[in-house]
Structures are given as structure tokens and as C-alpha cells.
Symmetry: C2
Subunit: 454 residues, 2 copies
């Protein structure tokens, strides 16, 4: 068995499959092998809350491609339930274990891609072990397990630890199923890394939708009936009855194997890569949530695990492996979450981050209707823009309300082009009364911010 | 009466009022006088079709500010139903006629702004004169006249000459009122300056909504019952029964007065201006639909009359009059129209225009769903991108379908930044399953176009 022209991908998630596919397009003859620990590959992990809520009819709909399709259409061999347990980088060999049979074998490679993704951060909670009804929501298997539990057990009350994007999505999913839901957040507000206005808006919706919110709430332990969870105990001693607990307390790069293999990690534990997606070891690449990404605003590596980035990084890795020479242009860090009718989004640096990175931030927030005001159904959008006082350069935006997605991407493009606030005010945005006011809210915010800079 | 520190604005439309307001912000002490021929100022002309359709409850809702508000809040004097009949640029004096009293007086100025807007192009149609039931839709008065006619006369059938943005909006408005509507278009397709796919999509909607479309149809004459229109006669001789005729056959700059006053016009009849909005005559500025605008893609003047540009140009003129020194950064030519559920939009150069201007256009069109495909209500969006083969530079986009507004502005920002197609592919756009696929349709189109360029 020769590895002289073989690419091995560790992890059948978006980044790895994008790398494999891009390499295949460049190199029709290359041997490409993907190993994935889980039984499923190529699915929309971000879609899981919507399958749980019932907005998406079946978990099966979340699967984009099967291993068979990859084999047939792209001649990419995918072995699921196969775990790579060792990487011998000096000999360019991986050791892989078939989780179904226990069989272990070594396979040589010429190129290796780490796309091992991220794993949930599990907070220290007494009693977690062997208790039914406690779930993370990361893999398709996780989603199926939650769904199965909801079918089997009469779940009337749900508790969600963490109120980031996933926490909010899961709260909405449970609320849509008529389950009495509480969010327990260790910090004071939901989405605490964002402006307090956004946290307040989320709280308003929670109230309307009858979702409980407990700030500064740390879950210390859980108690059950011997089989299943029945309540959670907060650090203050108070007890919350619940039939299910979702741990939505963040993720961290899944890089134990990489570290054991001598691949350099950064202080967040993410694999260090250059803009070609190369690690410190020749022939070894990394892409997606297990790796750093390049921030085009700061001009340096950051850890911003997002599906869009994972796909782009994978493609870059695959092209370089396939003989091209391409560099990742970087991200501005654009993300969005929907919470019922509200879109919450950001791109670039928040005011706090801007200060941390040595800028002198000037900010302006406005609220404006998102189509001509004389339309009765015109929604409201809150926009906060951050700029650098010294240079007038635009640094970031946070948005909450109607049609945030529509505007955040304009800011992202402006950030990629390193536009100033003055540049932003002069953008030629579309106008028709049913889709926007004649001065788009984004331009209104930019004009207001410009006044503070002049 | 001294004009030593007076700004006179001819035309109380968006551009003129923006100029007056911007000048006021810079110069609290300046005497500012606006003359407007029509009885109304500061209204959303673009909103008229939606007031006729009933989507906006009252024409009054379209009015943003009254003259009284301008006087009180900004100390700007606005005289409606006052027509400026002569401008003596050597003496810096305008002659103005009070249309209510017939009184004529001369008034000196230091600065003058032409914001006389555009007027409808009236095709040569026999029998137009003195026939009731024939309307243009440009001013608030026009809209009120149509509305009044619909109240007074039983209108069962409507004919619209022209199928540009206004023609489509009026067709939708009539169809929403249950009126049997026909679009008569001189060219073969609706929106003929756009890609034929868009024309076809419009025709599909016309069929669904029971709106007739006649291509290559020129109205030669109209016939009535002595008072009101009853039918139109096409150049081929065929006759179409109708109770109302809307002329939506384009607009032209309203510049007879400017021309008489020695202001230079371009070959489209638009007032020539530099990027400070100055005409060839010292102290005389122009802004809005009566004037040229600067195309940032071509780096030269074009005539693209749009409300968004009018507002920006007015502001630039006002700031320069107020003592600042600002230049208009130009437009990419972004426009949008909604036709029932479809958004149709473009920015930059179409393939045809690109060729006209000496580029070697490479194009790619795709159709893709605008949120994760597993959402049953995911809409479809068609995107066509145009780039220059030699340089790889992005030149323009045309879009039709769901959420076109969301994407066109990203392209507009990219065009402003003179991005290449490769730059566009690397934009960091937001992703969450309910608002977009993981690869936004725009990125998919850009990636496909990039393949053609590589």
C-alpha cells in the first residue's frame, strides 16, 4: 500500500469534505480517503435546532451528501465510524481504528488534512455521569438523541445552560414545541459579548414568548430519579425542575490528536495555520473549527469557528494540495442568529474588542424602519457602527431587528475593502418603498457616525 | 432686498431639499429660499403606485415634511406654486411667478441650486389632448388625479404604456384593485434593458396574475366617448378597450429653464456638473434627476436618475454651498423594483453595457435557494454576474427572485471598492439556516464566474 499520492482527511465535516472535493477537482487521479468517527458526514449541524423545532420536517433533510454519493460522483472514499488514533508525521502514516469491528490498520499519506472540528465545552456539573436527559447539540447523533428523548419521555420543562447562538436557537425550538423553557446564563445577559441593547432585546422576546431567563446563573449539579434528570441546582442553592438539560456552553477546537502528533496549537487550543492552511508539519494542513482563521481587519490569526469559514478554508487547503497556490483572504467575523422574528448579527470588531486591540473606538447606534415608513408592516432595525477615531476607518457593526442579514453583509464587504465611514456613507444602495427607505438605515447610521468623526 | 448671502433652490424635490438642509446645517445664518411649482414638496414620489394599490392607506402618508415644518425646524422658506421663469446668471437674479396670484418678482441670490427633477416622456399619440383618463405618474398631483379618477369613474380595464419599473408597479397596483390590466411595451419584453431571463420571469408573473402583456406594441392613438378614453389603437391597427391609460414611457431631465439660462447640458439633456455639483456658471449648482451623475465604475458622467442619488447629490451641493469642500464619490447604478413577490434588481454594468464601454464581458448566471434548502419556504434567486475577462474585475450584477435586495447591495459595495471576482468569492457573508445557505447564492455565482476566468 503506497501513500505516494494519497490525501487523507481526518474528519468528514464541511471543511474536510470541501478540502477533499477541491483537491479532487485539481487532481482527478489522486487517491483521497476521508475518515470520520461519527456515522454521518456532510450534514447541516446548524440545522439541528430547526429539525428539533419541527420547522424542518426530518433530520434526514439535513444530510447533504451520503458517503456513497462522494464515492460515486467524486471518487472520494469515505469511511465513517473510523477513528484516526495516531498520526506518525515523520513516516507520513496514520493509524486508524474501525469502530464497528475494532480492526486497526496503518495507512500512509502524502497530504493530511485535519478537519476534526470543535467539541462542546462541558461545564463541571455534579451528577452529569450516567444521567439521562442531558445533551449537547453538536453532531447529527446529538440531534437524533434529543429528538428520540422528546419522543420517549414526556418533556414539559426544559433548561438550557448558555444563551449564545445555540442556546437561543434551542430555546426557540423548545418553545415552539410548547415546552416550558428556561435559559440559565452564567453572565448577566444573553449574548453577553454583544452590546447590552441586543441582550435587552432578547430578554424582551423571552418575556413575550414565555421563555424564562436567569442571569448570573451557574448550574452546579443535577438531580434525577435514578434514571433521568428531574432538576438542576444553581450555585446559589436554588433548584430548577426540568425534564431535559441542554448544554449550550460553547465549543473548543477538537485538537487532542493534533497536539499528540506534534502539530502546533495556539493558546486557544486551535491548530496554527498559515494562509495556505499549512500547519507546522510539512504535508499537514488544517481547516475549519479545529483551526485558527485569519482576521482581515486585524491582519492576524483569531479563533472564529463558523461554517462559512470552514467551507472556504477547506477549499483553500484542497486547492493547495491539488497543486495550486492560493491564500485565504481572511474573515471579518460575520455571524447571525435568528430568535423568533428578530435577526441578530455582527461583523468586524465590537466596541469592546476594538478597544482591546488598541483602536480608539467611536460608536453610533440608531433604530430605523427597514422599508418606507408609510408601509404598515415596516419592521425596525437597530444598528450600531464602530469606527476608529484616528483614521475614520470602519471597524464593525452589530445589528438587531428586521432584515439585519440584508445589512450586515454590506458592512462585511465594506470591512473587507477597508472602507472608511465616509466611504460607507457614499455607497449606492438599492431603494424601492417595499424594500427600504430612501436612505437605508445603514446609511443613516453611517451619516450619524460621520458627524461624530468630523 | 439683498442676495449677498442667499441660497435659492429651484424645485422642492428631494435633491433641492437635501441641498437646502445641508446648507442650513453648515450655515445657520444663511437666507435659504426654495421655489416649487407644484403644491406639494417633500413627498415620496416612488410611493405613489403603492398608494394607488391601497398598500399605503393614504396619499397623505407619502408626505414627509410640510413647508411649515421646514420653516419652523430649519428656517428654510419654501414657496409652493411658485415658478421660476427666468434666471439672470450674470446679475445673479431669478424671476419668479406666484402661480396663485400671477404676481412676478425678481430675487437676487448668491448661490443657486437647480433641482428641477425630471418629467415624463410623452409619446406621440393622436387624440391625447383634452381626453380624460390619460395620466402620467410622476408628481403627487398626478397620483391624486389617478386616484380621484378611479373613485369617480368605473374603471374595469387599464392599459399601461411602458413596462419599465413604473409600468410594472402600476400594473401590480391596478391588478391588486381587481382591474383587468394590460401592459403595452414598444420593445419585445418587459424591462428590455435587462437580461431576457428577467423579462421572461416578469411574463410568468403577468400570466399568473392575469396581467396582459403586448410586446412590440406602440400606441398610435386613443379614442373616447367625447369625454373619456374608451380605447387605444396600436400601430398595427388593433384596438384595445380601456377605461384608463397610464403613460409610463420613461422620463427626461427637466432642464428647459437651465438651458435658457446658459447652463450647459449633456447630450441626454441633463445638466453637466462636476463632482462638487457645480455647473458651468459660477454659484450655480445642480442635483438630482435634472442633472448628470458620476459613475464610479466608468469614472465618467452618466444619466441615472434615482431618488437615492438625488438625496446624496443634494447633500453634497448643500455642503459645498455651506463652505465645505466635498466631492460626490459616484454611483454604481443600483436599482430595484418589486413585482408582486419578485424583487428585480441590478447594479453596475449589464453585459450589453459592459461591451458598449469597451470591456470584454464574461458572465455567469445561476439560480439558487436563498436559505437552507431544507426549509420548505426557501425562495429562489437568479443572479447574473458580469466581469471583465482581461482584469477579472467585477462589473455588475442583475438579480431576480427572492431576497434580491439583500444581495445587490453587497455587489454594489464590491463595485465601489473595485473588487475582482476573486475578492467577491472571499467575502465573509452571514449564515444561519433561516436566512441563507452556507454558501450564499452570491458566493456560488462568484465561484462559478471565477472558474470561467481562471
Amino acid at each position: 500500500m503506497s501513500g505516494s499520492d494519497r490525501l487523507i482527511v481526518i474528519g468528514g465535516v464541511a471543511a474536510g469534505l470541501s478540502a477533499a472535493s477541491a483537491a479532487r477537482r485539481c487532481r482527478p487521479d489522486m487517491d483521497i480517503q476521508v475518515f470520520e468517527k461519527q456515522p454521518y458526514i456532510s450534514y447541516s449541524a446548524c440545522g439541528i435546532p430547526f429539525a428539533i423545532s419541527g420547522q424542518v420536517s426530518s433530520f434526514r433533510d439535513l444530510i447533504v451528501f451520503t458517503p456513497e454519493e462522494f464515492r460515486r460522483q467524486r471518487q472520494i472514499d469515505i469511511a465513517t465510524e473510523h477513528e484516526v488514533t495516531e498520526v506518525f508525521t515523520a513516516r507520513r502514516v496514520v493509524r486508524v481504528k474501525n469502530l464497528k469491528t475494532g480492526e486497526i490498520r496503518d495507512m500512509p499519506y502524502r497530504f493530511l488534512v485535519f478537519s476534526t472540528g470543535a467539541v462542546p465545552v462541558i461545564p463541571r456539573i455534579a451528577g452529569l455521569k450516567d444521567m439521562q436527559g442531558v445533551f449537547t447539540v453538536r453532531t447529527l447523533n446529538d440531534g437524533l438523541a434529543v429528538s428520540d428523548y422528546l419522543e420517549r419521555v414526556p418533556v414539559k420543562k426544559a433548561l438550557i445552560a448558555g444563551s449564545g447562538y445555540l442556546g437561543l436557537e434551542m430555546a426557540e425550538a423548545f418553545a415552539r414545541r410548547g415546552i416550558e423553557t428556561i435559559l440559565a446564563e452564567a453572565r448577566e445577559q444573553p449574548l453577553a459579548e454583544m452590546d447590552t441593547y441586543i441582550g435587552q432585546s432578547v430578554l424582551d422576546i423571552c418575556r413575550k414568548k414565555n421563555i424564562g431567563f436567569m442571569g448570573s446563573a451557574r448550574i452546579d449539579g443535577i438531580e434525577g430519579d435514578g434514571i433521568r434528570i428531574r432538576s438542576a441546582v444553581l450555585s446559589g442553592g436554588s433548584r430548577i425542575d426540568t425534564d431535559i438539560l441542554i448544554l449550550a456552553t460553547g465549543i473548543r477546537p477538537n485538537t487532542e490528536l493534533a497536539q499528540r502528533s506534534g502539530i502546533e496549537l495556539d493558546d486557544r487550543g486551535a491548530i496554527k495555520i498559515n494562509r495556505r492552511m499549512e500547519t507546522n508539519i510539512p504535508g499537514v494542513y488544517a481547516a475549519g473549527d479545529c483551526a485558527q482563521t485569519y482576521c482581515s481587519i486585524l491582519g492576524k490569526p483569531v479563533y472564529v469557528p463558523l461554517g462559512t469559514t470552514a467551507n472556504k478554508q477547506g477549499r483553500i487547503a484542497g486547492k493547495n494540495i491539488g497543486g495550486k497556490n492560493v491564500q485565504f483572504k481572511g474573515v471579518t467575523g460575520t455571524s447571525i442568529v435568528t430568535f423568533f422574528d428578530m435577526e441578530i448579527s455582527k461583523t468586524g470588531l465590537t466596541e469592546t474588542k476594538a478597544r482591546e486591540y488598541g483602536f480608539d473606538p467611536v460608536v453610533k447606534a440608531i433604530t430605523h424602519h427597514t422599508k418606507a415608513g408609510y408601509f404598515k408592516d415596516a419592521g425596525q432595525l437597530w444598528i450600531k457602527l464602530t469606527a476608529d477615531r484616528r483614521t475614520g476607518r470602519l471597524l464593525g457593526a452589530e445589528l438587531a431587528g428586521t432584515d439585519a442579514a440584508k445589512r450586515v453583509n454590506i458592512v462585511s464587504a465594506a470591512l473587507s475593502a477597508r472602507m472608511s465611514v465616509a466611504d460607507l456613507t457614499s455607497l449606492d444602495l438599492c431603494y424601492a418603498p417595499p424594500v427600504s427607505p430612501v436612505w437605508d438605515p445603514l446609511l443613516i447610521a453611517a451619516n450619524e457616525l460621520l458627524k461624530l468623526l468630523e
